[in-house]
Amino acid sequence: MDDDGKPTLKETPLYERETGNRFVRSGLLSFLSIVVIWELLARASGWSVHVFPDPWAVILSFIELLRDGTLVRHTVASLYRVTVGFYLAVLLGVPLGICLGRNLTARSFLNPVIHFLRPISPLAWIPLAMLWFGIGDPPAIFLIFLASFFPMVVGTTIAVQNINPTFFQVAANFRFSRRETLTRLILPAIMPEVITALRMTVTIAWLVVVAAEMIAVQSGLGYLILDARNALRMDFVMNGMIVIGLIGLMLDGIMKRLGQVESSQWGRHER
């Protein structure tokens, strides 16, 4: 509140800032304890460093892979595939979801198919993907697309159906054109839910890219892990896993930021 007793827009409540710091602190602490437990387990197991590498060995090889550029190259390859597949899914899935949400006929026609295809794991498509798209980027991108497309369509459809019908009457009252109904009503109204869907979907896409790279390609973090296994370099396997985890955190963080864009904030206070 400012002097006039009006609530000010951009103030962060104190308790939110404090819990924010606490999350960072306890996050660091939990990672630290995992490393300690890992070290203890590695020592207690008595297994060789080739079977169960200790943290120090992994750190050393991490630096090695970072220096010779391997890690960066594979990460870029994986991110590229996720980005393309994910974007395609969003660019096709959100418009389709809007159509389905607005059109009962389309919904009754397509929904059964979508709900039939959705629970099929994208990994089940691997043989077909390889047959249709050969090897290289296309089959991997196709799998990521499949994994992201259905959740985006379903999430968007539900978001559109959830729009308060009063808002459409307001649009009719103010003589919105179809285009205005889309840009001034539907898109902003579904924004908060679509962002939630994006956040969940990007996680799925990231899970799938690693699996996809274990079959059809010669690059990417999935390939790095598979290749390291063939070479019996469990420390490289662990490096791959660590990078996957870090990138996953980063992607989620980006999506969370997106949710904090001011125009989508209204969703936090409604419903």
Partner: protein, 265 residues
């Protein structure tokens, strides 16, 4: 000629499971069909403030939605300004019972909705500002609806409606959910607005005192299926006061009786 002319209006909601092609008998509301409005005839004059009273669920909102063009009558016609209503229009702006403000737009953007076709940015800005000030929301232009109190939200929606300069203003229970003082202030504001702009205004309310204080004309509907119980022109001087005006006070007791409450408390 009357501004709003309603002739033989009947509304039947057809249930989803049974959808007969023809309805021979409008009285019939068997099965899933609900007869909501039964043969309503009304005429309102230009510039009048009409208050519509009736028990909850009797079809007051339905009547307003039909006048606004959001729904079609089952039988009969509704004419506004001599022309048959065929659909929503920016000449009849509806103020919704529960907020119709777009929550993703600021007060300023909401009020500007009806002015979006004005090309001259200066003119547009000054007209938005004028209406924001009219409902005393200056300083809150860039607030989102969820950052405003209930009364402020109603005022913002009122400003948005008036900014279009419609011929007809339709308000569905504009004071419901407001606390007592906000209710009184808002009522005064609507009356002042009407004195100033002289637009035909329809207000649905379930508060008899609101209707008697505000209306140039009151309409009392019976329970479902709704028929008209009373249409009365109120030519009592303003500001109105039940204590000082025995005629008003008598009418009040009469309406209470009509709506099934024998003693006006």
């Amino acid at each position: 000629m009357s501004h709003i002319q309603i002739d033989n209006l009947t509304k039947i909601y057809v249930g989803r499971r049974t959808q007969p092609r023809t309805m021979h008998d409008p009285e019939e509301h068997s099965g899933d069909n609900v007869l909501v409005l039964n043969n309503i005839n009304l005429a309102f004059e230009e510039g009048e403030m009409v208050c519509i009273l009736g028990p909850s669920g009797c079809g007051k909102s339905t009547l307003l939605r039909i006048i606004a063009g959001f729904e079609a009558p089952t039988y009969g016609t509704v004419k506004v300004g001599g022309r048959k209503v065929r659909g929503p229009s920016d000449q009849s702006i509806f103020v919704f019972q529960h907020s119709g403000l777009y929550p993703w737009m600021t007060v300023y953007e909401n009020v500007g909705l009806g002015l979006r076709h004005i090309d001259d940015e200066e003119d547009k800005h000054s007209r938005i500002q004028e209406h924001v000030e009219m409902v005393e929301l200056e300083g809150f232009e860039h607030y989102y609806p969820h950052q405003l109190s209930g009364g402020m939200q109603r005022r913002a929606e009122l400003a948005r409606a008036i900014a279009v300069n419609p011929d007809l203003l339709i308000m569905d229970e504009p004071f419901s959910g407001l606390d007592f003082l906000t209710h009184m202030k808002m009522r005064e504001e609507v009356v002042n607005m009407h004195e100033f702009l002289r637009k035909t205004t329809l207000v649905v309310t379930h508060d008899i005192d609101d209707a008697l204080i505000m209306g140039d004309r009151i309409v009392v509907l019976s329970g479902r299926p709704s028929a008209i119980k009373l249409v009365h022109v109120l030519d009592f001087p303003r500001p109105r006061n039940f204590e000082k005006d025995p005629g008003l006070s008598r009418l009040r007791s009469e309406i209470f009786l009509m709506l099934g409450v024998p003693y006006a408390v």
